[in-house]
C-alpha cells in the first residue's frame, strides 16, 4: 500500500458510502504491515530462512443480518473491494433464518502495542543465527540423532475503523521459539524432548524472551539429560492412576477441552461443518459443574507478553478480564458481539452481558471469528510441584504433547506426551516412555484434585490454533499451573 493516511481516508469514505447505502454495520481492518520471519536449524543446517510480508485491507459488511466479506492487497482496488463485500452480504441476506446483529455501540478510540524491549525485526539475521547455532551446539551429543531449533517472529500494524466511528490502532509483536532433541530408544523407536518458549506473565515480548535463559535459552541441557533417561526407560503400562500435568502439557489440555468448547460460535453451531460443535449449550451457563471446586478459569487480556493479548478485538471491543469457570461452575464463554446478541435472543434471556472481546482474524484477508484470548487456569493453593507429588500415591507427571485427538463436541480426548515420571507413595521413582492418557471432559475436570500455586504457573504460547472456514491459524496464550487429576485411564490396552 502507498500512503497510509490516504488509504485510511479512503476507507472512511467507503465505510460511509456503504453504510448510507443500507448496510447495518461496516468495518475495515487495514494491515499496514504484516510480517513473519521463520528460521529453522535442522541438525545445524539452516533449512528455513524465510520472511513473508503482506499488507492489505479486509472489509466486512452486515446486510439484513448476514455477513459479506472481501479483501484486497491493491490500494487502487479499495472501492471495488467495499462493493464486493456489500454485494456478498446482500447475496447472503437472501438466506437468513437467524439474522445476525451487532447492536449499537458508542465509538471506541484507542490503541494497543505489545510491549517490546528489542524488536526482533531489528536484530540482524546474523545475530539471530549465531544465537540459534549456540543453542544447537548445546543440544549436540553422540546419542542424539536429530536436533531442531526453531524461531518465528511476527509483527502486525493494524488500523481498525467501523461505521460506529470507532478507530483503533494495534501494533502486535510475537516471538515463538522451540528446541527439540531426538534419539532412538532401546526398541528402535524415536523419542524426543522439546522445549517451547514460555513467559511468566510479566515483562516484554521481544527478542529478549528468546535470550532469557529461564524462558527459553537455558533449557538445552535439561531436555538432553531427560532424553538420555527416556530412551532407556520402560513403557507406561495401561491402568488408572493420577495424572499430573506440567504446564507444557496442561496448556494444550486447557486449549482443547476448555478453550475450544467455550467458543460461543462453536456452541451456537457455526463450526459444525469443520472444527465441530460443543457439548456445552446455552443452558449450561450458571448451571454446569464443569470441574471440581479447584477449577477456576479466566479469559484475560492483561498478560503483557502473550500472543493472546491484543488490546481490542476485531469488533472494536476492549479485551476483558473475566472468569469462564468459577470454582468449577461454568459462568461465561469466549464471545463476540454478534454471537452474544444471537445467544441472548435464542435463549430468551441475558445469558451473556457483553462481548468478551474474542473476535479475531488471522490476517487482512480473513473475517473475524470467536477465538481464544489467554485462557488460563488460575493458580491454586496446593503448593509446588514437589508438594503435589508428595501427596500422590500412584500417578505420573507428564510434559509436552506428542499427539492430541479430541471428539468433535470436545466431549472426549486422547493425548500422547513426550515423557512421564512415575510417582509411587509421594516420590518420583523413574521415567516412563510413550505415556498416553484419555478421558471424558467433564469427568476429567471433576477429578481435578490439586492445583499448584503461582510458582508453578507459566504462560505457554500456541502459534498454530486452526479454526474456521476459510481456515485461520491463530496465536493464543494459556497461563497454567501444575494440575493433578485422579483416576485417569493411562497407557494403551494390550
Amino acid at each position: 500500500m502507498t500512503d497510509a493516511a490516504e488509504v485510511k481516508n479512503d476507507i472512511s469514505q467507503n465505510i460511509s458510502r456503504i453504510s448510507s447505502g443500507g448496510a447495518g454495520y461496516v468495518d475495515a481492518r487495514y494491515y499496514m504491515e504484516d510480517s513473519s520471519e521463520t528460521l529453522v536449524l535442522y541438525d545445524g543446517d539452516l533449512e528455513a530462512n524465510d520472511t513473508t510480508v503482506q499488507s492489505g485491507v479486509g472489509v466486512r459488511v452486515l446486510w439484513d443480518g448476514a455477513w459479506g466479506f472481501a479483501a484486497t492487497s491493491d490500494p487502487s482496488g479499495l472501492r471495488s473491494c467495499f462493493d464486493k463485500a456489500a454485494q456478498n452480504a446482500r447475496t447472503a441476506s437472501e438466506l437468513v433464518k437467524a439474522p445476525l446483529f451487532m447492536g449499537k455501540r458508542d465509538p471506541v478510540r484507542g490503541s494497543y502495542s505489545t510491549p517490546v524491549e528489542v524488536d526482533p525485526f531489528t536484530v540482524s539475521l546474523q545475530d539471530k543465527l549465531t544465537f540459534m547455532t549456540r543453542l544447537d551446539n548445546e543440544l549436540k551429543d553422540e546419542f542424539i540423532l536429530k536436533r531442531i531449533v526453531y524461531a518465528n517472529f511476527m509483527k502486525k500494524s493494524i488500523h481498525f475503523q467501523n461505521s460506529e466511528g470507532s478507530e483503533i490502532q494495534k501494533d502486535l509483536s510475537h516471538v515463538f521459539g522451540m528446541m527439540m532433541a531426538m534419539a532412538l530408544d532401546c526398541d528402535g523407536e524415536m523419542q524426543r524432548r522439546s522445549m517451547n518458549l514460555y513467559s511468566t506473565g510479566d515483562g516484554t515480548a521481544g527478542w529478549e524472551m528468546m535470550t532469557n535463559p529461564e524462558l527459553f535459552s537455558g533449557h538445552a541441557g535439561r531436555i538432553k539429560s531427560e532424553l538420555v533417561e527416556l530412551i532407556k526407560a520402560p513403557q507406561l503400562e495401561h491402568g488408572r492412576r493420577s495424572v499430573i500435568l506440567l504446564p507444557g502439557q496442561g496448556h494444550l489440555q486447557v486449549h482443547e477441552t476448555i478453550g475450544h468448547p467455550l467458543e460461543l460460535d462453536r456452541i451456537l453451531g457455526y463450526e459444525l461443518s469443520y472444527a465441530g460443535g460443543s457439548f456445552v449449550d446455552l443452558d449450561s451457563f450458571g448451571k454446569l459443574q464443569y470441574g471440581s471446586e479447584k477449577l477456576s478459569v479466566s479469559s484475560y487480556g492483561g498478560i503483557e507478553n502473550s500472543p493472546g493479548s491484543f488490546g481490542f478485538d476485531d469488533d472494536g471491543t476492549l479485551e476483558l478480564d473475566y472468569l469462564l469457570i468459577d470454582r468449577g461452575l461454568l459462568v461465561n464463554a469466549l464471545t463476540s458481539r454478534a454471537m452474544v446478541n444471537e445467544a441472548n435472543e435464542k435463549a430468551g434471556r441475558e445469558v451473556f452481558r457483553q462481548s468478551g472481546g474474542a473476535a479475531r482474524a488471522t490476517s487482512f484477508y480473513k473475517a473475524p471469528i470467536d477465538r481464544m484470548t489467554n485462557v488460563n487456569i488460575l493458580p491454586g493453593t496446593d503448593g509446588t510441584l514437589e508438594d503435589i507429588i508428595a501427596s500422590t500415591e500412584d500417578g505420573i507427571v507428564v510434559d509436552n504433547p506428542v499427539s492430541w485427538s479430541i471428539g468433535s463436541n470436545r466431549e472426549h480426548f486422547h493425548f500422547g506426551c513426550e515423557i512421564a515420571w512415575e510417582i509411587k507413595d509421594g516420590k518420583r521413582t523413574r521415567i516412563l516412555r510413550n505415556p498416553t492418557y484419555q478421558g471424558h471432559t467433564l469427568e476429567f475436570y471433576r477429578s481435578l484434585s490439586a492445583v499448584g500455586d503461582r510458582s508453578t504457573w507459566k504462560v505457554e504460547q500456541v502459534n498454530n490454533c486452526g479454526k474456521g472456514e476459510p481456515n485461520q491459524v491463530m496465536q493464543i496464550g494459556h497461563g497454567v499451573p501444575v494440575v493433578k487429576f485422579d483416576d485417569v485411564i493411562t497407557g494403551e490396552r494390550k
Partner: protein
C-alpha cells in the same frame, strides 16, 4: 490466463537475475477464492479473496534465503525488491553441510485440463439457492450448517537455470452440508468435490442424507464398548488413514531419519496387506492433477506400495540433497494419491451381509499419531456412523474412538470396494492448494481396536 504484464515482469526479473549470476526460483501463486459458509440454516459468511503471492528463493552456494510477498505486482521494481530481500537473506545465511539441488523447470509445461470457467466464475447466488433447495427437501425442522469453497488457482514457476516456464491453472470446489437434529443432537453430513461446476448436484446430497435420515430419526443411538471390531471404513476414513500412513511412512525424510513406521523396512519388503496398492498419480482425474513439483520437476505415475510391498519412497528436493538421493518430483506437498480398488460390491451393506455385527465408520475426525515409529494413530467417528447387523443398519453410534496401527488396519482388509471415490483433502489455511485422493468407496477390516466412545450424541 496468466496476466500478460505480470508474466513479462517476472521473465524480465528472472533474466536480470540470471545475467547477474544469481540462482533464483520465482513462484507466482494466484487464487480467486469464494466461500459461502452456512450456520443455523443461514448464510453466516459470504467471502471472496483475490490474492497474488510471489515466493522467491535464492541459492548462493550452500546458502539459501527466501522471501514471500503478498500484494499487487504493479511493476518490475516490486519483484526486484523481493529478489533483493531473498538474496540478502541468502548472503547472510549460514551454509548448509550439503549442496542444495538447484531448481530447474525440466521441460516447459502449460496445463489447464482441469479448469472450468463456469466454476471459476460461479455466482454465489447459485450456492445460496442450492442450499435453500436442500433445506426445503430435507426439512426445515433441522438445523443446517456447511460450507462451499470454490475457486481458481494459477501457479507459474520460473528458475534462472533456464528459460523454461511451468504454468498450471485449475479450478476446484468442496461442498459440505451438516444436518443436525435440534433436540437429539445427532449429525449427518454429505460432501461433494470436483473441478467443474457441473460436478455438483443438490440431489446427490438430498439422496444420501435422505437415505440415512429414517435410521437416525428412529433410533436413540448406541455406545460402543472398547474391544476389537470388524469395521466398514468409508472413503473419508480410508483417505485419512492412507493419507496419514503415506505422509508418515512413505516420505524419504521420515524414513532416512528413522522416524517413520517403515523405518526398519526397505523397498521390496511387505509393509501392508497383499490387497493394498498405492500410487501417486497426477494424471488421475479423481484427484487434482498437478503435472510438476514446486522445484520444476515433471511428475508422472509414481508407485508407492504394490500388493502390500514397499516400492518407493518420496524424496523432496531438500531431503534428496541432504541424504544424497535423487528428488522424485513427488512429495507430501500436493499429492494425487490413488489407492487401488478391489472386487467388493458397490453397496458395503451387501458386503457385510454375512459378517454379523460390524461398525460402519464413514470418516474419522481429528486423527493424530501417538507413535509415528509404530504407526499408531487415533481418531474418532463423527457423522453418519452406524452399527450394522447382517447387512442391515440398526442404529447410529455415538462418537467412537479408534486407536490402532496402520499395519494392523491395512493388514487385515477382507473386502475392498470396486468403486473409486474422490475425497477432497484441501484446506484453506494458507494459499489455495487443491488436493484430492482417489480411494475405494469403502473397505472392511477386522480386528480394529475401539478404545473409547462418547456417552451420547
Amino acid at each position: 490466463m496468466l496476466d500478460a504484464n505480470i508474466r513479462s515482469i517476472l521473465m524480465q526479473v528472472r533474466d536480470e537475475a540470471a545475467d547477474q549470476g544469481i540462482h533464483a526460483t520465482l513462484l507466482l501463486h494466484h487464487e480467486k477464492s469464494h466461500l459461502m459458509r452456512i450456520g443455523n440454516s443461514s448464510v453466516s459468511l459470504n467471502t471472496s479473496e483475490d490474492l497474488l503471492r510471489l515466493d522467491m528463493v535464492v541459492t548462493d552456494g550452500r546458502r539459501q534465503g527466501s522471501q514471500t510477498f503478498l500484494g499487487a505486482i504493479a511493476d518490475a521494481d516490486v519483484v526486484r525488491s523481493v529478489l533483493a530481500a531473498a538474496k540478502e537473506k541468502a548472503r547472510v545465511a549460514s551454509p548448509k553441510t550439503y549442496d542444495p539441488i538447484p531448481d530447474e523447470v525440466d521441460v516447459p509445461v502449460s496445463e489447464d485440463s482441469q479448469f472450468d470457467t463456469d466454476l471459476a466464475e460461479l455466482d454465489p447466488e447459485v450456492k445460496e439457492s442450492a442450499y435453500r433447495e436442500i433445506f426445503g427437501k430435507l426439512g426445515e425442522e433441522y438445523n443446517y450448517s456447511g460450507s462451499w469453497s470454490s475457486g481458481a488457482t494459477e501457479v507459474y514457476l520460473l528458475t534462472t537455470a533456464n528459460r523454461n516456464e511451468a504454468y498450471h491453472r485449475g479450478t476446484d470446489q468442496l461442498f459440505s452440508l451438516v444436518l443436525k437434529h435440534p433436540a437429539s443432537k445427532w449429525e449427518l453430513t454429505h460432501q461433494q468435490t470436483g473441478w467443474r461446476a457441473a460436478d455438483f448436484a443438490a440431489e446427490k446430497t438430498t439422496d444420501e442424507i435422505g437415505r440415512l435420515l429414517p435410521t437416525f430419526e428412529n433410533s436413540g443411538g448406541c455406545k460402543v464398548d472398547p474391544g476389537e471390531y470388524t469395521v466398514i471404513l468409508g472413503a473419508g476414513a480410508i483417505s485419512e488413514i492412507v493419507g496419514m500412513a503415506a505422509w508418515t511412512g512413505l516420505n524419504g525424510r521420515g524414513w532416512e531419519e528413522k522416524q517413520s513406521w517403515t523405518a526398519r523396512m526397505k523397498p521390496g519388503d511387505m509393509i501392508l496387506g497383499e490387497n493394498i496398492s498405492l500410487v501417486d498419480d497426477p494424471g488421475n482425474p479423481h484427484t487434482f492433477m498437478f503435472g510438476f513439483d514446486m522445484c520444476g520437476r515433471k511428475r508422472g505415475i509414481f508407485p508407492l506400495i504394490g500388493d502390500g510391498e514397499l516400492l518407493n519412497l518420496m524424496y523432496d528436493s531438500g531431503t534428496a540433497a541432504r541424504y544424497g538421493r535423487k528428488p522424485t518430483g513427488h512429495d507430501t506437498g500436493s499429492p494425487s494419491l490413488v489407492m487401488d480398488t478391489g472386487f467388493g460390491p458397490s453397496d458395503p451393506l451387501d458386503a457385510a451381509r454375512d459378517m454379523g455385527r460390524v461398525l460402519y465408520i464413514p470418516a474419522l475426525h481429528y486423527m493424530n499419531l501417538p507413535s509415528r515409529s509404530k504407526g499408531i494413530f487415533t481418531g474418532s467417528s463423527r457423522f453418519n456412523a452406524v452399527l450394522v447387523e447382517d447387512g442391515r443398519i440398526v442404529s447410529p453410534i455415538f462418537s467412537t474412538r479408534i486407536t490402532d496401527s496402520f499395519q494392523n488396519v491395512l493388514g487385515n482388509v477382507s473386502v475392498i470396494s470396486s468403486i473409486p471415490e474422490s475425497v477432497n483433502g484441501s484446506n484453506t489455511y494458507g494459499r489455495r492448494t487443491p488436493v484430492a485422493m482417489s480411494v475405494p468407496s469403502y473397505m472392511i477390516a477386522s480386528g480394529i481396536k475401539i478404545t473409547d466412545s462418547a456417552d451420547s450424541f
